[in-house]
Amino acid sequence: MQSWGRLLNEVEVLIRAGRYRDALNKLRSDPNLYNYVVASMIQALQSYPGGQIADLNGNIWSTTQLANDLRVGRWRPVHFNFLLAEIGIIRRQLGV
């Protein structure tokens, strides 16, 4: 779990620097952690089935589509907002 904690810290730094591709590569360097994170994000998106997420610019995303994109490894910029949030949630869950 300590190694997950370190890796999550590094992923977070890369996301905050806008280096999304590097963040994703870093996350994928531990397949167990990557699968855990993606499964958790998909599960969260499925908690609002058929629902929609929006931002204040009028952009709208379907929760189903965002979950499907994650399943096939198609990451959109908005996924990284959720990835940052996911890191916070995982820290709470695992105490890392």
Partner: protein, 258 residues
């Protein structure tokens, strides 16, 4: 104090919520809602009333924030960044000495710090990324999972208009996000089916909600905080979009005249 609340193109939910709670936050609030929330009316109101606190919501990019119909309200003249919204500098002369709450995406990246450093705004609350929220399942009814991010965010206005400092408002804002996160993580809200998703949205929104400028800024004398309650569910007050058919009428008329 002045509240600018456009209600089209994605900002009808925050504007509807703020329209309902602003009178409780500040009984003397001047509210420009919907089609009243134009850049021209906003400028006129600021020049006439000289409010020291302005809440505005709308679309946002790093160089500008907009009002009704996505028309630019405050903009840095940076056409290389966006040749429509940031084609010219707009209303930068209005912010000196004022505290602003710019509830728009991305403005924390550039507009907010520049308003403070170059144009003399005393303090600016803004977001440095996209502010996310859930849309109502039926498209029109605001319930607790839809309202939560806004109720956390609008703590800023409650603290500022009770005489708190900007630093206190920012602290209260983050604490409010934390309380809502706890509510959906392990409190009563955890029983709601959308809890896992709204929880993550709240974490994301908390991360991007920042204060720029002087944390000692205040806009009114300290007074007991008023109780602010929002009765839910609440119907979204969405402005009518101009129908493409209506826009086409003059064209059809001209064509029929040959």
């Amino acid at each position: 104090m002045l509240f600018l609340l456009p209600n089209k193109k994605g900002v009808e939910i925050p504007s509807t919520i703020m329209k309902h709670i602003a009178p409780a936050i500040d009984p003397e609030a001047v509210i420009l809602f919907g089609d009243e929330a134009t850049p021209e009316n906003a400028r006129k109101a600021i020049l006439e009333l000289n409010p020291n606190y302005i809440f505005t919501t709308g679309h946002g990019i790093p160089c500008a924030t907009t009002l009704q119909d996505n028309r630019p309200f405050i903009a840095l003249g940076l056409p290389e960044m966006n040749d429509k919204v940031c084609a010219n500098s707009l209303n930068l002369d209005l912010v000196k000495g004022k505290v602003l709450h710019i509830h728009s995406c991305w403005c924390g990246r550039l507009l907010a710090p520049v308003l403070v450093q170059k144009y003399g705004a005393w303090a600016v609350f803004a977001h440095d990324d996209e502010f996310l929220f859930l849309l109502p399942e039926d498209g029109r009814t605001i319930d607790i999972v839809v309202a939560a991010p806004f109720l956390a965010e609008f703590t800023v206005d409650q603290v500022m208009l009770s005489g708190g400092t900007a630093g206190e408002a920012q602290k209260a804002r983050i604490e409010a996000f934390e309380r809502w996160i706890k509510y959906f993580y392990e409190g009563e809200g955890a029983k709601l089916k959308a809890a896992p998703l709204i929880l993550r949205i709240l974490v994301a929104d908390k991360e991007i909600s920042k204060l720029y400028g002087d944390p000692t800024a205040t806009v009114t004398r300290p007074r007991p905080a008023r109780e602010v309650r929002l009765s839910l569910p609440l119907e979204v007050e969405k402005g009518a979009e101009t129908s493409p058919f209506i826009l086409a009428i003059p064209l059809i008329f001209l064509m029929s005249k040959g």
